[in-house]
């Protein structure tokens, strides 16, 4: 466990280095948040009934989606690290590290995500709270359920990215499919548009896929759009996907690992 945290901490400090980059990304985030805010406002004034929730709820949904996406960035997951290590041929240095590779990737990603959460997500939410009408969770149960649910969402997103990263080891060039992957995840995870606004056919597809665990379930819990029974059901859904994907990642890694050894001679 100590090793896990030391890798996490290192990843965290690595992020502090790029200062200019840091500020620009924060500015971009404000633009995104503002865009989402304007969009829901206009749609609300146009036809409030179609939204199915009230204005504060939908704006809270939108802002939370933007802010969480700033730390759970699909594009910056472990797959990027793995792909670049493979390309430069330095993946062997990761194999001699005194920590299991799967755990190492999680530690690294956790450190980076924690950094982004503290420096991007929280400040964005504070600005949203002061200026744009972002709301706190309606009661304690929803607050705690949200925290648990977003933790599961994080693990699910990590696992999906990890599996994609393993594909990079098995000689698939993931650079060319990365945009398509990112945009599909963002579409089906409901981080921009909540699933209840989807047309029925599309919604039934999105409901069974694991992607909605990343943003849609946690954020819907947060704004209080699920009844308590629903909350428990959806969190269970997340739990199942989480276990399945973690195991799948494990299996993929074991298969890929044996392949690396063969290539090494």
């Amino acid at each position: 466990m100590k090793i896990f945290w030391s890798f996490s901490r290192q990843a965290f400090y690595n992020m502090v280095m790029y200062r200019f980059d840091f500020w620009v990304r924060r500015i971009v985030l404000l633009f995104v948040m503002y865009g989402v805010y304007c969009l829901w406002n206009i749609l609300y004034t146009q036809n409030a009934k179609e939204l199915e929730v009230n204005l504060n709820q939908i704006i809270t949904y939108g802002i939370l989606g933007v802010a969480l996406q700033a730390s759970l960035i699909t594009a910056m997951g472990p797959q990027r690290y793995i792909a670049s290590q493979i390309r430069m041929g330095s993946i062997d240095t990761d194999l001699v590290k005194p920590i299991d590779f799967h755990l190492h990737m999680l530690a690294r990603n956790f450190g980076e995500t924690a950094f982004r959460f503290i420096t991007a997500t929280i400040p964005t939410l504070i600005i949203g709270f002061i200026f744009l009408g972002f709301e706190l969770p309606c009661d304690l149960f929803n607050g705690f359920a949200f925290a648990f649910s977003i933790a599961l969402g994080y693990l699910i997103q990590f696992s999906l990215n990890f599996i994609l990263g393993i594909l990079a080891i098995v000689s698939v060039d993931i650079k060319n499919i990365s945009w398509a992957y990112i945009s599909l995840v963002s579409f089906f995870s409901g981080d921009m548009i909540p699933l209840w606004l989807f047309p029925t056919a599309l919604r039934s597809i999105a409901e069974i896929m694991p992607f909605k665990c990343i943003f849609y379930i946690p954020i819907s819990i947060y704004i209080g759009n699920f009844s308590r029974i629903m909350v428990i059901k959806e969190v269970l859904f997340q739990l199942i996907w989480c276990i399945v994907l973690l195991l799948l990642g494990r299996i993929f890694w074991i298969c890929a690992y044996s392949r690396i050894k063969i290539q090494g001679g």
Partner: protein, 266 residues
């Protein structure tokens, strides 16, 4: 004229380099198409629910999106290389362009064609055609001319803005994140008509970082919506002027940056 000849020679060389990877080309185009299908899916879902966004119907939105896409495709195919500028500066490989007696910008841009931009072009053409038919537009020759001018000036605006961003790396070494700001503003004007935003933000993207001239203002004329602008309707006509001014500013900044440039190798 000679520089143009050299540019085409360079481009042909880079195409020859590229044709070695055909699978790359196909996955690249599919990647672009998926990305845009998802983006349009977002818009489609919203307009499907709310019938329009601030009086912009689905076809209006598609038109707006595709007009941006057409201008962008010119940037994407021929000038995408600007985004790599900082790597040349940081690694000191930018020096190679000073050795040859050809315009440095032409040499730099001629290094590479971004074939994936063909996907953008495809989406733009298909999108505009679908919107044109569904909106039952019937443009006069004058309007067709304005349409072509709009596409060109839209792409010049994007090229000039990115060029300015690239030039920043002469001073800061790293400039890739400044592209992120422009890209974000771009994606906002691409997806939404700017009249859903507040006045402050509209002034910002009209007067300071004039991305609104890429697609929004010209499309008001092409879609007969100029009445939205009220007494500011002249804005709809001046995209070409804005693009030329921006281009002049960009070349100025580039020349100043070049003069200041000292290789990071020393």
């Amino acid at each position: 004229m000679d520089t143009l000849k050299i540019y085409f020679r360079l481009i042909i060389l880079s195409i020859k380099c590229r044709t070695q990877y055909r699978a790359d080309f196909i996955t690249g185009i599919l990647n672009i198409i998926t990305l845009n299908a998802v983006q349009l899916g977002f818009i489609g879902i919203l307009v499907n629910r709310f019938t329009n966004i601030n009086k912009w119907t689905i076809w209006d939105m598609l038109f707006l999106y595709s007009l941006w896409m057409l201008g962008h495709s010119i940037f994407a195919i021929f000038f995408w290389h600007l985004l790599d500028m900082e790597n040349y500066i940081v690694q000191g490989t930018f020096d190679q362009f000073f050795i040859k007696p050809v315009n440095i910008f032409v040499q730099f841009i001629g290094r590479e064609l971004q074939y994936m931009g063909i996907g953008d072009l495809l989406i733009g053409v298909v999108g505009i055609s679908i919107a044109y038919v569904n909106l039952k537009l019937d443009w006069s020759i004058l309007k067709w001319a304005f349409f072509i001018v709009s596409v060109v000036s839209g792409s010049i605006i994007e090229i000039a803005l990115m060029w300015i961003c690239a030039s920043i790396s002469f001073w800061m070494l790293r400039s890739s994140t400044t592209f992120a700001i422009i890209s974000q503003l771009d994606s906002m004007i691409q997806k939404y008509p700017i009249d859903i935003f507040g006045t402050g933000f509209r002034v910002f993207i009209t007067a300071f970082i004039p991305v609104a001239f890429i697609n929004y203002y010209p499309s008001l004329i092409l879609l007969n919506k100029t009445n939205i602008l009220d007494k500011w309707s002249f804005l709809a006509y001046i995209s070409p002027i804005v693009s030329i001014i921006l281009l002049i500013v960009a070349t100025k900044i580039w020349t100043i940056g070049l003069k200041l440039y000292s290789s990071s190798g020393n």
